[in-house]
């Protein structure tokens, strides 16, 4: 009897402790940094060795496939050049319109390139370890991006390494909007590498294939960064929100290098005199 009561008390204490510690944002007095600092150098060595072996394999043993890939790339390049010309035109017209409306030129963000050296040991959570930390100017809460789009947010920093919470993790939240209709919502991580946009009103026009971008209102991610495309919309008969599924542009399985945005854009509102 005493043992059963003891077990129940232990379970209760355990649940209370977990609920206290689950509020991750208060720092654990640097304890997390110690663990990352211990493990990350070994992860870095292991990752570099694996990549070295893989690169040797790819460069010297897969030359046959490289020839076909080269043909494909040439085709893709010609298409890209065509697209690039088109975008140049758009850029010029955009510049003219901005000047016309007397908009201030958007500040270019300073970024820091980092290498992914480790991934989350659990399949239930989606984090990565990168080889840049406090000494490189990286801080907690900074945005992590790649050219394809948003990757995540720095959640813990040690002097040379950082832990990044990916946008596909259920604990992640990004303020985003549908580019076509400007319908806003919060992107939360889902299962199977997908995300969901929460709190999109049913009356908002959202369709499959729509591009989703960051709104910049969360103060973490600069405005206009690509997040993904809408891959599913469910409007139920009841409820005020619709269920929107987003497929991220970033391939998180193949994430190797990332950029950390060091000076996120601050929105300053100048009052008119």
């Amino acid at each position: 009897m005493v043992m059963i009561v003891g077990v129940f008390v232990l379970i209760a204490v355990n649940i209370i402790a977990l609920s206290v510690f689950s509020r991750r944002y208060p720092s654990y007095y640097g304890s997390g940094r110690i663990a990352i600092s211990i493990i990350a150098p070994f992860q870095k060595v292991a990752t570099r060795s694996i990549r070295f072996v893989r690169d040797v394999w790819r460069h010297y043993f897969f030359l046959a496939t490289v020839a076909t890939e080269n043909d494909k790339l040439k085709k893709a390049q010609s298409q890209a050049i065509e697209k690039s010309n088109h975008y140049n035109e758009l850029k010029l017209s955009n510049f003219r319109l901005r000047s016309l409306l007397n908009f201030q030129k958007t500040m270019t963000n300073r970024v820091c390139a980092a290498e992914v050296i480790g991934k989350d040991p659990s399949p239930w959570f989606k984090t990565i370890i990168i080889d840049k930390g406090k000494d490189d100017g990286v801080g907690k809460g900074m945005a992590v991006v790649i050219p394809e789009g948003i990757a995540g947010q720095v959640m813990d920093v040690s002097s040379h390494y950082s832990k990044v919470l990916l946008i596909i993790d259920p604990n992640s939240a990004v303020d985003a909007m549908v580019q076509r209709t400007r319908a806003r919502g919060i992107i939360k991580g889902g299962s199977a590498g997908l995300c969901h946009i929460k709190y999109v009103l049913r009356k908002q026009d959202v369709s499959v294939g729509d591009r989703v971008i960051s709104s910049g209102l969360d103060g973490v991610f600069p405005k206009g960064l690509a997040v993904g495309h809408v891959s599913g919309v469910i409007r139920r008969n009841s409820g005020i929100f619709q269920e929107v599924t987003v497929t991220p542009y970033v391939d998180f399985e193949k994430l190797e290098e990332v950029l950390v945005v060091l000076n996120p854009t601050k929105h300053e509102f100048v009052s008119e005199q």
Partner: protein, 179 residues
Amino acid sequence: MTYCFHICTCFCLVIFKTTVMPYFSLFDRFYDLIFPFIIYLSLFRSARESIPLILFFGFVMDNLTGGPFGLYLTTYLWLFIGVRWVITFMDVEDSALLLFVVAAGVLVQNFIIIGTIVMFEPVSRFSPVVISTVVVQVLWAVFTGPIFLVFFKYSHGRWDKWFKEVFANKKGDRYGLIE
């Protein structure tokens, strides 16, 4: 020296899981590799030897994952308590126990993790992916768990033997017993 063996083994397992395994999509949903080691400690080692290691590696894992802090510590401790309780009425050398103990442990771990996620996020993701992840992990554990246990036991035995030999030789050298 035993602690040295345990720490080296756990470090290797953590690094293997976080750096090598992500390159192979086959192991996308492999279970936590520290887990069979915790079971090995619970089955074959003393509580005095096991608890500090469980606390240390629970702490390390909690800092490496994106989950709530304390989740891995909780899971490891409860697993340790559970296995210690099971071996009070089951034979440690029983091969049936070895066959299923890791799988059962992985199942319990998944229930604790899912339970915690649901507890803190009631509007959580419960999709077929969750069930398939649990099933895949348990199947991996059924097939590979006993191999890990046997490997840990064997390598620890070898380590102890090797260390004793080295220690005996040094002692012998000091007293001029070995020529």
